[in-house]
Symmetry: C2
DNA sequence: TCGGTGCTTGGGAACGTTCCCATCATAGGT
DNA sequence: ACCTATGATGGGAACGTTCCCAAGCACCGA
């Protein structure tokens, strides 16, 4: 069972010094004569040499590792972004250490400590928890950091995510245009996640600007309760004697859309007559009978931008002002927001 | 900007030797006097010391890193298994280096090399490609290996995955019981992925045993083509003069179920009258009108078993016979396989 | 011919750990 | 009182790299 060859063995085999071999593999081939390069290449091939990243990381402090903390790996949106991050990393010769926190702040701390012990060169964080001293400590040491989708209290760092104001505007405009006049905004509890707060706030503001009626409901875990809330919204009598204006549901993210769809089915509501629209495009939104209208996030772009920001931060350490990169969603209009007389 | 403290600094602060501090953090506290332990703990806390995994990995050859290669990170099944793997790793104090190969053998090779350069202690592989010399080399060096879901030609390793024979049996029994007599089996191209081959083979065998009529269709990328194939199956006249027996579609995995559902909707087929059943349970299967019947894989269990097998292999290196761990799916019967007169 | 300049090459000291050994007490058996 | 076993502790050499520095050489202009 042959052990992996070391740089010294390659040097010996090639009749060169370990320094030269190191240079060869560190991408400084231009500093080496072509003849030497060739000898090293041949020797490395013969011995099937692969540089030991652990040793590299130790000596140079450059692990070539990026850490990514995902709040919920089973959320398709997160995975789609992860996919973008991964591609971007690969193009930069970086590897990705992915940790899932299952929305547990405690686990988030653990994983943060872990990543730091692997000397990651940067951190992309889709935060699950509250602002964290662990994280503060890491950034204090000059570790580049990018926040994904969710802001994190006191932490000063670039943020990459959806343009929530624009998204809500798009949604409200679309719903208004389609003739819906009374809206119910459905969201998961907004405490911990900044996009939920932003979207909710813009919803409230946007209503007024458009003279729409609307209210917000925060989901608990219970399907029953959600169904009751929706039913109450759909069946209660119109405000003044204004007749029965069309009503629609706006879902704050994919998980909510799923729950709301389930609830509407239980209530026997007809999609379209009862409007339904959600942020986040999912595989199945086209399949539910008249199709569910969504706002698709540019997930791949978001992922790539996260890596780009990270890289930008690591070159210009020095106190750069945190920047925000907000991307616009794309409206995919389907039958669930079409009032067919 | 304070650098992370080293073991030497802790030793100094605690008035102990680095050896003792090392022992403390390597979990050999029972070899240390309680007094010393306490001093070290206090010092480490004061300095916010965190052992450097790179240095550990270098010296001891133990990186505490497990590599996982996923063929398609956007497949919910893969993610669910990943989730199980991750939890199991965490319980063992292992970290997970996840790489996505996008079903590209070339990328698979690259990532394999990369993981080996990080000195991973074990590899969990959901293979995308053909048997690979890169992989052979790694196992040749005694790196423990577990195959997930897909077999890999010549590679001798434990396999963890679904009991495909059982799954197909369950499906056929259910469909037969519900009164469907002619089946169309839909699959992605079976060349590269062993479960596809196994399922297909068992489908063919299972038909005969149950006196069912049936055939198999291999999907290309085109939705049109699939719809045409399904239409042909649904509209062609019955074999003998046997009357018009109920027909059903059986989908080899989640991606196929999605495509088939799309196609059936385009054809205007009514689910139930036309049977539909798929392997892999997905969020939305309950939402498509009468509900889509599925076989749910025990993804969490599969993930955990993968890690368990890996650990078992690393203790008893010596030429243990490769084992297979096959888990049974759970039938979730819904309206899509209910013939309502 | 000489000092400088530029280029290729190599020696050796780190990096932060682990782990083999050595040291030094303390205690127990003769 | 002496030798040895036992247990706690520490010194120092690795592990496989990188990178500073220096050496060697050819070439140039004075």
């Amino acid at each position: 069972m042959p052990r992996r060859a070391t740089i010294i063995e390659v040097a010996l085999e090639a009749g060169a010094s370990k320094t030269s071999v190191s240079r060869y593999f560190a991408g400084e081939r231009d500093k080496l004569s072509p003849a030497l390069c060739e000898r090293i290449a041949a020797a490395a091939l013969r011995l099937d040499y692969r540089p030991n990243q652990m040793a590299r990381g130790l000596k140079a402090g450059r692990s070539r590792l990026i850490g990514m903390l995902v709040a919920d790996i089973r959320n398709p949106f997160s995975v789609a972004v992860l996919h973008g991050v991964e591609r971007a990393c690969r193009e930069q010769g970086l590897s990705l250490l992915v940790c899932n926190t299952d929305n547990d702040p405690e686990l988030e701390r653990t994983h943060l400590a872990l990543m730091s012990s692997y000397q990651v060169e940067g951190l992309i964080i889709n935060a699950s928890g509250s602002p964290d001293t662990e994280l503060q400590a890491l950034t204090g040491q000059g570790l580049p950091l990018v926040l994904l989708d969710r802001e994190l209290g006191a932490v000063q760092a670039d943020l990459v995510g959806l343009d929530n104001a624009k998204a809500i505007d798009l949604a409200l405009d679309h719903l208004a245009e389609q003739g819906y006049a009374e809206l119910l905004y459905l969201s998961e509890p907004p405490e911990r996640a900044s996009p939920r707060r932003e979207r909710l706030a813009h919803f409230q503001a946007g209503l007024a600007a458009r003279r729409l009626a609307g209210e917000a409901y925060t989901m608990s875990a219970s399907d029953d309760e959600l169904a009751r809330a929706i039913e109450a919204f759909l069946t209660r009598s119109a405000p003044k004697g204004s007749g029965d204006l069309p009503r629609a549901l706006l879902c704050a993210n994919g998980a909510v859309t799923l729950a709301a769809t389930r609830a509407l089915q239980r209530l026997g509501a007809r999609l379209g007559k009862t409007g339904l629209m959600g942020i986040d495009e999912l595989d199945w939104c086209a399949l539910i009978d008249p199709g569910i209208t969504t706002l698709a996030q540019p997930t791949e772009t978001i992922g790539r931008q996260a890596v780009a920001s990270l890289l930008a931060n690591s070159v210009s350490q020095a106190a750069a002002e945190p920047r925000q990169h907000r991307f616009e969603p794309r409206l995919i209009a389907r039958g669930s927001t079409r009032l067919t007389g």
